[in-house]
């Protein structure tokens, strides 16, 4: 038996921090950072007698997220208490939603492993509060509790177990991230923990019932999610192949060792004793409230994609890639507005810039330069001030030290040689040094021209104007 004999079943629980100004149940700022315990008040510190009041924006953002993922919005909803003890949970219960989530029964479309469109069903989206943070105390021993994050609003999106591979799981998560970014409900920064995913994985042989699933936590990048799923699939298959049984448990992914570890202390019985929070009254959303939000939803990736192919003549594939990230898409639109050259902008973003992102394991939102800077670079190529070869160097430089491309090329001395005399000098030098190529060309081998131009570019370290080189070589060769 091998891995290919098993079918993999994956479901995701995705937590996204909402980008509201204040916390879900109190008026403290949600801003990331800040000295420990300074973004706190009696409510989020769970002082005796303090009471929660729901932030209206949290409801609005959750409804937005629900509408953007094709969910039904509940007319009747409520908040429930999930009771458990942990030092980062000051009330010893989390206010969440149990049996009446705000949004239910949605779906998003992703590309499956064969490249076909696939619907991934969303079971529910509900609102809840984030916990605080435990810091390791490097001096005095013990741990230290910081409650700045306690009460930051989250939406939890629970998928049905519709995903069949790590790649699909990644595509699904990227899709959600992109949607939430588009509708501006979350900034979805995985590195800051504002987007987190718990992954349920099970394996079974086709035609048999689903296997027992394990839940993995603590993955904080797309890469670690893919790795964790791959690891867990292999682990489960190994266990089964060795005649063992999978235990339903929660696992912690350790990125350093590339392994999962059992998380829950066996002695801690889990029984959350959900019940409706008596401090908070019911949520009843009228039709016109929901319609108003639906009407004002920002443009979603699907519609942008449509526009990119019809208006800008981009290929389906390129349009898809560009719109996958709102940041990338905004960069595209911003740059194009200035330089009015959609194909060039798309090319730069999808080739050189994407390659560098990959190499650096960066997400598009971490691109350090602006749309203006990108557009300027493209205009410099159009004007002939620099060659595309120099353009590539400018992009690399923009990642390191983002500033006006004109300044970059001045500083670096990368301005294209467009002076006819200088170009001629180079052309003559190269022709002299390569008599073989000259005769090849004359014998009808057109390729020889390319070689000669290449040599001239090398000679000028990419700074010669390629069109002028071409023209001048032809003139000389045809003499």
């Amino acid at each position: 038996m091998s891995r290919s004999d098993y079918e993999v079943v994956i479901g995701l629980e995705v937590h996204a921090e909402l980008s509201t100004k204040t916390k879900i149940f109190c008026s403290c700022p949600t801003e990331f950072g800040g000295d420990p315990n300074t973004h706190t008040c009696p409510v989020c510190m769970a002082m005796p007698g303090a009471l929660p009041v729901l932030n209206e924006k949290v409801v609005e953002y959750a409804v937005k997220a629900g509408l953007a993922t094709n969910c039904e919005i509940s007319r009747d909803s409520k908040n429930d208490r999930k009771n458990y003890f942990y030092p980062d949970l000051p009330k010893s219960y989390q206010i969440s939603q149990f049996d009446k989530p705000l949004c239910e029964h949605g779906y998003v479309e992703i590309e499956d492993d064969e490249g076909n469109l696939k619907k991934v069903r969303i079971l529910r989206i509900h609102i809840e509060e984030d916990a605080g943070k435990l810091n390791h105390n490097e001096f005095g021993g013990g741990s230290l509790v910081d409650l700045n994050r306690a009460g930051v609003p989250l939406i939890e999106t629970v998928s049905e177990p519709d995903l069949r591979s790590a790649k699909e799981a990644e595509n699904y998560l990227r899709k959600l991230k992109s949607i939430f970014e588009y509708i501006e409900v979350s900034d979805c920064k995985m590195q800051e923990g504002s987007l987190r995913a718990d992954v349920n994985v099970s394996v079974h042989k086709p035609g048999t019932p689903f296997g027992t699933r394990t839940e993995m936590k603590n993955m904080n990048s797309f890469r670690s999610i893919v790795r964790a799923i791959e690891y867990e699939i292999d682990r489960q298959i190994d266990v089964i192949e060795d005649g063992g049984v999978i235990e339903q448990e929660t696992l912690r992914w350790d990125d350093v060792s590339g392994r999962t570890f059992s998380m829950r202390d066996k002695e801690d019985a889990q029984d959350y004793r959900y019940f409706p929070d008596p401090d908070l009254v019911a949520i009843r959303l009228p039709e016109d409230y929901i319609e108003e939000i639906r009407k004002n939803l920002p443009e979603l990736p699907e519609s942008r994609k449509e526009r990119y192919t019809s208006e800008y003549g981009l290929s389906e594939k390129d349009a898809n890639l560009l719109t996958a990230s709102k940041y990338m898409s905004n960069l595209f639109e911003g740059a194009n507005k200035i330089c009015n050259n959609p194909k060039a902008v798309a090319n730069w973003l999808l080739s050189d810039i994407s390659r560098i992102l990959n190499e650096k394991e960066m997400e598009p939102e971490q691109i350090p330069f602006t749309a203006e800077q990108l557009a300027k670079m493209i205009e410099l190529i159009e004007k002939g001030t620099i060659s595309s070869a120099i353009g590539k160097k400018v992009i690399t430089e923009l990642f390191e030290n983002p500033k006006d491309p004109e300044e970059i090329i001045k500083e670096k001395g990368w301005i294209q040689i467009s002076d006819e005399g200088a170009i001629k000098e180079v052309v003559m030098k190269i022709l002299e040094a390569n008599p073989q190529s000259v005769s090849d060309f004359k014998a009808g081998k057109d390729k020889a021209l390319g070689f000669l131009v290449g040599q001239a570019m090398k000679e000028t370290r990419g700074q010669a104007n390629p069109q002028m080189l071409n023209k001048m070589f032809l003139e000389e060769l045809n003499k």
Partner: protein, 492 residues
């Protein structure tokens, strides 16, 4: 003139006529505390020195015209589960023995806005769980009518302090009778407002869907005055109702002609002390005499209410008291090496037995497998109780019952059997379950001279109706003119 025997409306008049000064009043109460507190034990913390300097400050400001307000400088006592910034809020628990509140409850802000003077924080059953104040982690409170008896509870300190004249009035809280029952035991007036009339922000939660803060006073007019101060919509409490404010002193008409009174016979059946029953019958006869229309009817909800009450209250409490974990505030055990021991030992050592019992019960009824049989059913019973009361209020303006089946009992005589103790709440809990207003006023004393309380229940937000009914009876019978606590018994 004995200042501490005056009601607040009398004090107010004497302040207005300059017969008395703010300092004189505060001084009189401080003296009374010094005289009686050792016998009664109503306080957890007193603020006598602070009160005297505060009185001076207010007096100057009143004289200079900087503050107006006819109640400025009147002292008050506050149950020790209501937060006052910078003061301890102990809930009479070892858990919060040293807890200094970082903020004011909404009602505290309202008292401050009137420039009332806080004389101290009043003793209670730990976390408001109990009906005798014997469950205070610090000390018992004695009933001023008989020092060998309990003052009732959980607001026993508040009721005893008012009865003993150590405060002119006080705030209590009522989850299942915790204002009305001690008021009844101590021969004073106690009102539990309609759920949502008074903000709960800053009241340490026992059972969130039942808790209400309310006044404990010497007479009905004072009750109306204090209710005026503490009511009002609060954005910090989503269960606080946004309704127009009523001036409750204006509704005291001294007239019950045509008032339709329902007398639910189940509340006068088994378990009700005969003398209590007899006093209630006299009171009802009085109402007839005053022109009210009285009718007996059946309201068979008391037992269901009581069961439902203990399920809901304990379930909510088990969750509300989770925050006492020894991390951010409150008692922390010395006996721990890891987090679990820190949690468990802090909670086990910090909570008293009754609190632990209720946390256990509440955890049980919410736990998987029992939720539907208990918690869910109890919430359905709640719907039933509400609809039964709704039906009753179609026919009657008020419902009259005993406040408690018994009068104040001897300290130490009852605390061994929890179920028996819970059954004693039979007359009061329905009111909380249905979220209605209820007032307890004295309607005589039994053969041992212990006060008997009458409960008048109104429809939601009908505080005006029950206050007028209570006022009219009070004016006709003048309980305070005829009976006074005598501080009988006590140290042999």
């Amino acid at each position: 003139m004995n200042i501490t025997e005056l009601t607040v409306h009398e004090l107010k008049d004497k302040l207005a006529s300059k017969e008395l000064t703010v300092s004189e009043i505060t001084k009189a109460y401080v003296d009374r505390i010094n005289e009686k507190e050792s016998e009664v034990g109503a306080f957890v913390t007193t603020y006598c020195d602070e009160a005297i300097s505060k009185a001076k400050e207010i007096e100057e400001k009143v004289n200079s015209g900087e503050i107006k307000g006819e109640l400025a400088g009147i002292p008050i006592g506050i149950k020790d589960n209501i937060n006052v910034k910078g003061a301890k809020t102990t809930c009479s628990s070892k858990m919060l023995e040293n807890f200094v509140s970082p903020y004011d409850a909404t009602v505290t802000e309202k008292l401050n806005a009137e420039n009332l003077i806080n004389l101290g924080k009043l003793n209670m059953d730990e976390f408001a769980m109990g009906g005798s104040t014997e469950h205070s982690a610090f000390h018992n409170t004695q009933n001023p009518w008989n020092l060998n008896c309990v003052p009732g509870g959980s607001s026993g300190g508040s009721a005893a302090a008012v009865a003993a004249g150590m405060v002119p009035w006080a705030l209590g809280s009522d989850t299942g009778g915790s204002i009305r029952q001690p008021a009844s035991f101590c021969g004073v007036v106690g009102l539990k407002p309609t759920y949502g009339l008074v903000s709960r922000y800053g009241l340490v939660a026992f059972a969130s869907s039942l808790d209400q803060i309310g006044p404990i006073t010497k007479d009905v007019e004072d009750c109306a005055m204090l209710l005026n101060i503490i009511t009002g919509h609060d954005e910090k409490d989503t269960t606080s109702e946004n309704i127009e404010k009523v001036d409750y002193t204006k509704v005291l008409k001294n007239d019950v002609k045509g008032l339709r009174i329902g007398v639910p016979k189940e509340f006068y059946a088994e378990g009700i002390n005969e003398e209590v029953k007899a006093k209630l019958e006299e009171a009802i006869a009085k109402y007839k005499e005053l022109g009210a229309e009285v009718e007996e009817f059946s309201l068979d909800v008391a037992k269901y209410s009581l069961a439902s009450y203990y399920i809901i209250a304990c379930a909510e409490a088990s969750s509300n008291l989770g925050r006492f974990d020894g991390i951010r505030y409150g008692y922390r055990t010395e006996n721990y090496t890891n987090l679990r021991e820190l949690f468990r030992n802090s909670r086990s050592e910090g909570f008293g037995e009754e609190v632990k019992r209720r946390i256990m019960l509440g955890t049980y009824v919410l736990s998987s497998g029992y939720y539907d049989a208990y918690y869910k059913k109890a919430q359905q019973v709640r719907t039933l109780v509400r609809s039964e009361f709704n039906k009753a209020f179609e026919k009657y303006d008020v419902i009259i019952t005993p406040t408690s089946p018994v009068v104040a009992f001897e300290t130490g005589s009852k605390s061994n059997n929890p179920l028996e103790m819970y059954l004693a709440d039979i007359c009061t809990v329905s009111v909380n379950i249905a979220g209605l207003p209820g007032i307890s006023i004295p309607c005589g004393v039994d053969s041992n001279g212990m006060p008997v309380g009458m409960q008048i229940i109104g429809n939601r937000f009908e505080e005006s109706t029950i206050l007028n009914a209570a006022y009219t009876y009070e004016q006709a019978t003048k309980f305070r003119d005829n009976y006074k606590p005598e501080f009988k018994g006590g140290a042999e």
